[in-house]
Amino acid sequence: MNSYSDWFHPEVALLSEELLWPYKHIDDERHEEPLDHYDGPVVRLGSVSKSFGRVQALNDVTFEVQRGEILGIIGRSGAGKSTLIRCLNGLEKPDRGRVEILGRDIAPLSEHALRGVRRQIGMIFQHFNLLSAKTVAQNVALPLKIAGADKPERTERVRELLDLVGLTDKARSFPAQLSGGQKQRVGIARALAARPALLLSDEATSALDPETTLSILNLLRDINRRLGLTIVLITHEMSVVRAVADRVIVLDEGRVLEEGDALSVFTAPQAALTERLLGIDPADLPRGLRDVWTEGGYLVLRVQLKGTAAQRPVLAELTRDLAVLPIVLRASVQQVREQAVVTFVVAIGDLDESLGRRIGEFLSTRVSRLEVLGYAQHLA
């Protein structure tokens, strides 16, 4: 068994025996590095800071990426996402801090030494960055050529990869002849060519239409599952993170604003910015929302249901058991990974203090999250 198999989970190794490392010389190169039996986090960032002139792009950023997980980094433009992802393969050098890739700090490495590290990291781009003068097959073969694989190996591997991304019939086409989605599939095949331990995705779906975005995200998810490949993706679109990420980091002004598993960040965002990125807009709520209840007013609640809670008729039960008539002001269903998250904003009138308390008790045992947004005199 090749030592590269240690890189993947055992079940994945079984599944993709022929996908394992066939390039002896590259394997040898790995032996020089203390990575063979490394099983810690694929990425470990320690207090990374970076400025461009007076602009602080990254400010004391610390996080880890575990093997086989998909980490989504979301932020507005200018939040430092691009700088951050470029630090991960040494295209950008941090001013301070450690950038450990597979247990090795790459921040102090020379450009020459970085080349070896980059061969273990695939990257896909917003604008695909395919070479226009090369065919699809030649584009996919390029990382292998750089790694020194000989021609028969390259041909064989390119065939496998084009098969994986479903573009076998486009091998001889030039990128200009492909659609955006097909170009990104070529980009993915190319990024996977040298069997990287980590895949970086730099706004890879931002130039694609929603349907194509979905198919590309599904492909990434599929690759992550089948190959156990660790993926770090940056995006400004919440829907992208929601569709694929296991864990989410919210980046703002170069700082980690919020971090957590995807479901908790989506269902219980801690920071106001995260709420805004999630598309929770205060403008959708009744005007004149107040903190205190006044006679004849409404109680405005946000109720969130996920998992099994989302399969129960909670609002109907509320009406049956407490004889209140909730008015739905806003409702949404979001798919976070495979789980549906249902959110209602409801207003309940004809209230008195004891009823308000009973509603709270009733709902808190049945819903995933309950939040009193306030009280409104009118539902304008």
Binding site: N89, H112, R115, F125, N129, A133, L142, I146, A176
Partner: protein, 217 residues
């Protein structure tokens, strides 16, 4: 002295072709690396180097600032050193090549600089070094522009070669000046003009076709 006009035309055409193709080949072979050097040494380039950027930039500008006819005369000692003589078609190749190299280097520089930086970044992210970037990205991606630019250089050189008659290089320009202008032979003058138009058209068409052949954008 040749006897018949057709013989003289053929002789002159041959000399023009000899000068421009030999000097053109040298300009391509020397100008392309010079263009790469200029692009690579520029700020943000793959081998960013202020000294090289400034020095070579200045030298290239200096050569391009001197009118070809003056450059040719000024280079007579160099020509003599390289060609053994400063007179004749072969000798004219030296100043033509020296004049055309910085010209083509600048044209190549423009094409090379136009290559999407994202592509360079992509190859860097694969672990490619500078030479990989030159070989797999810069030259192939800029090739249509490099060929179109070379066509422009060749056409300019056909024009410049007419001046080479001043140092006895012969060629079509020389024929037109000596017989057409100085001896008031309007027929020769027109003949040369027609041949030059046909020649330039052929070079331009050929260059365009070649550039299109390599353009997959």
């Amino acid at each position: 002295m040749l006897n018949t006009w057709p013989d003289m035309f053929l002789q002159a055409l041959w000399e023009t072709l000899e000068m421009t193709s030999a000097a053109g080949a040298i300009a391509f072979v020397a100008g392309l690396p010079l263009g790469l050097l200029l692009v690579g040494a520029a700020p943000g380039g793959i081998w960013e180097n202020r000294f090289i950027d400034r020095t070579f930039g200045t030298v290239v500008n200096a050569f391009r600032a001197v009118p070809f006819i003056i450059l040719m005369v000024a280079l007579i000692p160099v020509t003599r050193l390289i060609a053994g003589t400063s007179i004749g078609t072969e000798a004219a190749i030296v100043p033509l090549a020296i004049g055309a190299t910085p010209y083509y280097a600048r044209i190549a520089e423009v094409s090379l600089r136009d290559v999407d930086r994202g592509l360079i970044e992509a190859v860097k992210s694969m672990g490619g070094g500078r030479w990989t970037i030159v070989r797999e990205v810069l030259v192939p991606e800029a090739l249509p522009g490099l060929l179109a630019g070379f066509t422009v250089t060749l056409v300019t050189m056909i024009g410049a070669s007419a001046m080479a008659g001043a140092i006895g290089a012969g060629g079509l320009g020389d024929l037109a000046i000596r017989y057409g202008y100085q001896r008031f032979n309007t027929g020769i003058m027109f003949g040369v003009i027609v041949v030059l138009i046909v020649l330039v058209s052929l070079v331009q068409t050929g260059g365009d076709r070649l550039a299109r052949l390599f353009d997959h954008r």
